[in-house]
């Protein structure tokens, strides 16, 4: 203690300075380690959140959803399975069939037009042309066979998967599969629509957000009407205090963390489908839409242009104008040129200014427009802020819609 009663003034000044410097060094040392500490705290806290969620689940949810999340007693669906976590067991096959069917439409159309040309009585083709056509027809026939083989093997693959998942299907994976889809009478297209709409739980309920959002929303609000499809249950209640239930929001988060912790990612296996006692049931009447939803355009610019070419997609200025103004709201920004380049004069500007700029050698106007719409961040016109234009138009638009908008813009 005598240390603190240093009688010489120099000693005190020295001691005080040492202490202050020491303290600052310590705080600095803590500061440089803060990132790591905070990260490990987050991990630790997530772990404890899962633990609390496990406790809440065992106490409140396991009665109906099963202790291990497989569902129990015809009261509620299993949650611990790949279907719930967005892994479609026949998804690859379904996609292959849809793609092959799409290709077939194109190939058949080409075949028809070549045959028409060949058999045109008024304007018969020259012999040379006839040979060309015959060669092309042979080529097309080979391609059609190829696509048919693809479909056949995908269908067989799917049947194999469904057979190995027999128990799971019986337990409600692909609900209504037996009642709604009759292989004999249902058109192929409807079968594909069925799988497209039932491949994952989120597709089944038509949820546009992510799984966590779906879980949290369901926990908060419950699922009105679920009591009607689960014979031994009153239906999923609203659990959040906000909606009259018993859980605080942090408890809802804990539960969601616990449920999400079932996700095995790449390690899901067929056994996981089979372990489930009961899968989710659709709340709707089970009737099928007639059209499969058209696939989105995506953001592969050259791919989009190639598809337009291959599928003979031609844009319509009129419907493009409609989409531009109303559905996608492009005019909201592209008006007057204040926050984004003006709609009026688009074509001239692209031809005279943009494509002459360095880096756009070999670009066509269409290519420039498609890239600007689907990948708006790749190039931002000088004088405008980057990051303003939404990057998801490629996902929201179909090939046809994109083509319409491009056609509209090229008329401006």
């Amino acid at each position: 203690m005598n240390l603190l009663f240093i009688r010489s003034i120099e000693g005190r000044i020295l001691m005080g300075i040492t202490m202050f410097v020491g303290m600052m060094i310590l705080v600095g040392w803590v500061a440089i380690n803060e990132e790591a500490r905070m990260q490990s705290f987050v991990q630790q806290h997530t772990g404890r959140s899962i633990e609390r969620g496990a406790e809440l689940y065992a106490l409140n949810c396991s009665e109906c959803h099963g202790e291990e999340g497989y569902g129990a007693g015809d009261r509620a669906p299993g949650l611990n399975n790949p279907h719930f976590f967005g892994y479609d067991p026949v998804g690859l096959h379904t996609a292959a069939i849809i793609n092959a069917n799409r290709a077939l439409v194109r190939l058949n159309k080409n075949t028809d037009s070549l045959l028409a040309e060949m058999t045109d009585a008024e304007n018969p083709p020259t012999e040379e042309r006839q040979n060309e056509i015959l060669a092309a027809l042979t080529e097309l026939e080979a391609q059609i066979d190829e696509q048919n083989a693809t479909i056949e093997s995908a269908v067989a693959g799917r049947v194999a998967v469904l057979e190995s998942l027999d128990t799971a299907v019986e337990n409600g994976l692909f609900p209504l599969w037996d009642t709604v889809v009759d292989i004999e009478t249902t058109s192929e297209n409807e079968v594909e629509v069925f799988f497209y709409n039932n491949g994952t739980r989120l597709a089944q309920v038509g949820w546009a957000g992510d799984l966590r959002g779906y879980i949290i929303t369901t926990l908060i609000h419950g699922r009105p009407g679920s009591g009607n499809v689960w014979p031994n249950s009153e239906g999923m209640a609203a659990w959040s205090q906000t909606a009259g239930g018993r859980f605080r929001h942090d408890e809802i988060e804990d539960l969601a963390a616990y449920i999400l912790n079932w996700d095995k990612g790449a390690d899901w296996a067929f056994e996981d489908y089979i372990a489930v006692a009961q899968y989710g049931k659709p709340l709707a009447d089970g009737s099928l839409p007639s059209e499969p939803p058209p696939p989105p355009a995506g953001d592969n610019v050259m791919g989009i242009l190639a598809r337009w070419e291959a599928n003979e997609i031609v844009g319509s200025e009129v419907s493009g104008a409609d989409l531009y103004d109303a559905e996608f709201g492009c005019t909201d920004c592209h008006r007057g040129g204040a926050s984004a380049p003006d709609t009026i004069g688009t074509l001239a500007r692209i031809q005279n200014e943009r494509l002459t700029a360095p880096g756009f050698e070999g670009y066509t106007v269409e290519q420039y427009l498609v890239e600007s719409i689907t990948r708006p961040g790749d190039y931002v016109v000088d004088g405008y802020s980057s990051g303003l234009m939404p990057v998801n138009f490629g996902v929201r638009m179909t090939d046809q819609q994109l083509a319409d908008i491009v056609a509209f813009l090229m008329s401006q």
Partner: protein, 605 residues
């Protein structure tokens, strides 16, 4: 002639040359900032030389400046050492400022709402650089402040410094102690975790016992019958506004009184009945500038350094689970400085011990200087008062001990034991069951029966025999039923007991030994024929479930007391079933609790 319409630095440069003008300018500024000391004066002061200017410039900051106007310009050498003050008054003031600064920093990230407050705590810990350090410092500072202020009071008692003319100083000091207690207490609620909610619920419920106005006071304090959004807001406002305002005012009054009367000298330095604190002989004067100033700056650095070290390596402010009014944690206690009231409450009536007793105690303290009017401050002449002080300290210590959860609270042994093994982190302690490393949680059912100290058999044989026994007498079925009731998945139920994997999981072995040790201590009286079990099951990837089970023969319990027969043995409760020899079989009871452990949770040991 000035180029500007008023005298300027440029004129000085013209007149005296650049160098001289600059130095004089600096000198002038320093003298203004320090309210009287120029560079030369400062240099002399910090070199320990005597002042060369007359009148002594080191006194001007006290007379002319704001910051030092309340600080005396010199102290008596007899009060500048460790004794008699132990620097406790200085430390109390230090903590007032320390808490204010750390508190204001924490306020930046805090919203007093039950929906947000706990999340804010997590944000401070997970997303605010140095947030954890700041919170630890504020919390530790608060605990120190209560202790330091209380010790400051007892020191004043021991040296008799409350005596005439300092009676009122003592009274304001007592008010400061009460304010400090309430400041610390009101801060307790703000993290909105289980610890806050229940410690404060217990504390605030004492207000309820006040006759006539109890309910109103309670309602006023909590804003509702139960602690909730209003209560939190009120405690927050008390904590950051009302109480600090009172504290600063009383702090001013208290210090003013201290200076007016002078720091009281060590008792033996004065003649009996004299008060010479204000008459400091020239040779005893220790000037504030530079001596006390350098002392205080050094202590400031040292104290802050020590707190920083403590908060980095030895102390972390507790944060339990989110407050939950529906779950009362076992063994909740008031903050340590209110434990004495909680202990007193166990003596009987809530009003007598929870309200009247503390009021009388504080009233007695307030009146102390007016009751003890003997003139002498010498220890030898104050044996009675010093005995009273020691008795007071002993009483408070005993009552505080009685306030602990383990004292005279009726909890059944099995609950107590399992809680001891599994409790969540609180007060920097955690149930040993939670500290098993994740990779040592090997799935299986283990029992304390393996540890019943039978050296003649191998562990494998003991377990085999035990399995046979519990399969035969239905105790294993009872265990399985209990696990099912507690929602253990059907695929996870154990088939039989296994030997504890001591080699792969030494920590499990240690935990089971502790479990066994606890059970053995109460087996004879409360839990005859007891065995404990730990069932580890897989729940999810990275998540295990640990079920703790106690199974024993039921004994007759009346009024929370185990009933004994004439031989002093507990009276068993028998079922209607009989064993093969026709003897009645005691009713077998089973108790279980469980916890989930995630591999990232990292419970400390």
């Amino acid at each position: 002639m000035s180029i500007l319409p008023f005298p300027s630095f440029l004129d000085d440069v013209k007149e005296k040359g650049f160098k001289k003008a600059v130095f004089e300018g600096i000198d002038d500024s320093v003298e203004r900032l320090t309210a009287g000391l120029n560079v030369q004066d400062l240099r002399e002061a910090f070199r320990g030389e005597t002042a060369s200017r007359r009148p002594n410039p080191r006194l001007t900051p006290h007379a002319d400046g704001f910051w030092l106007h309340m600080r005396p310009s010199y102290f008596n050498r007899d009060v500048t050492g460790m004794y008699p003050s132990f620097r406790l008054g200085w430390l109390s003031s230090y903590f007032v400022w320390f808490e204010t600064i750390t508190g204001i920093l924490l306020m930046l990230w805090y919203t007093p709402s039950p929906e947000i407050a706990y999340g804010d705590m997590l944000t401070i810990l997970s997303n605010v650089p140095l947030g954890q350090l700041m919170r630890d410092m504020h919390r530790l500072g608060a605990e120190f402040m209560v202790a330091v202020v209380a010790m400051h009071m007892m020191r004043t008692w021991f040296t008799g410094s409350y005596k005439k003319p300092r009676q009122f100083t003592w009274f304001t000091g007592l008010l400061l102690l009460v304010i400090t207690g309430f400041l610390s207490f009101s801060g307790y609620l703000l993290p909105w975790d289980q610890l806050s909610l229940w410690a404060v619920t217990i504390g605030a419920s004492m207000a309820e016992a006040t006759p006539v106005v109890g309910d109103q006071v309670n309602l006023l304090l909590r804003g509702a019958p139960e602690l909730g959004a209003n209560g939190l807001l009120r405690f927050y406002l008390l904590h950051v506004l009302a109480l600090p305002a009172l504290l600063f005012i009383m702090f001013g009054v208290h210090y003013y009184k201290v200076i007016i009367h002078g720091h009281s000298l060590p008792p033996r330095k004065e003649n009996i009945g004299e008060d010479t604190a204000k008459r400091v002989p020239l040779d005893k004067r220790v000037y504030f500038i530079p001596d006390m100033l350098t002392y205080e700056m050094m202590w400031l650095g040292a104290t802050t350094f020590i707190i920083t070290v403590l908060c980095i390596w030895f102390y972390h402010a507790p944060l339990e689970n989110h407050a939950n009014p529906e779950v009362t944690p076992l063994g909740t206690t008031a903050p340590w400085y209110f434990l004495w009231i909680q202990g007193a409450l166990k003596l009987g009536d809530k009003f007598v011990w929870g309200v009247a007793f503390p009021t009388v105690a504080l009233g007695g303290l307030a009146l102390l200087p007016y009751l003890d009017v003997t003139p002498s401050r010498r220890y030898a002449h104050r044996r009675f008062m010093i005995t009273i002080a020691l008795l007071l300290i002993s009483l408070t210590t005993i009552l505080s001990y009685m306030g602990l959860a383990k004292f005279a609270v009726q909890t059944s042994a099995e609950t107590e034991i399992v809680h001891e093994l599994t409790f969540e982190p609180a007060h920097s302690k955690v149930g040993i069951g939670r500290t098993i490393p994740f990779d040592q949680m090997i799935v299986g059912a283990y029992t304390t029966a393996q540890l019943h100290g039978r050296d003649d058999m191998s562990a494998t044989d003991i377990i085999a025999e035990f399995n046979a026994e519990v399969f035969a007498n239905g105790q294993f079925d009872q265990l399985i039923q209990e696990l099912k009731d507690q929602k253990v998945g059907a695929n996870q139920l154990p088939l039989r007991f296994r030997t504890i994997p001591a080699a792969e999981a030494p920590k499990v072995m240690r935990v089971m030994e502790e479990f066994h040790h606890h059970l053995a201590a109460v087996e004879a009286k409360e839990l005859p024929g007891v065995w404990g079990a730990l069932v580890i099951t897989d729940n999810q990837a990275g998540l295990k479930r640990l079920d703790w089970i106690v199974s024993w023969d039921s004994v007759l319990i009346e009024g929370g007391q185990v009933q004994l027969d004439e031989a002093g043995e507990p009276i068993l409760v028998y079922s209607e079933r009989v064993d093969s020899e026709g003897n009645p079989i005691p009713v077998r009871r089973i108790f279980s609790d469980h916890l989930f452990i995630h591999e990232a949770s990292a419970y400390f040991d």
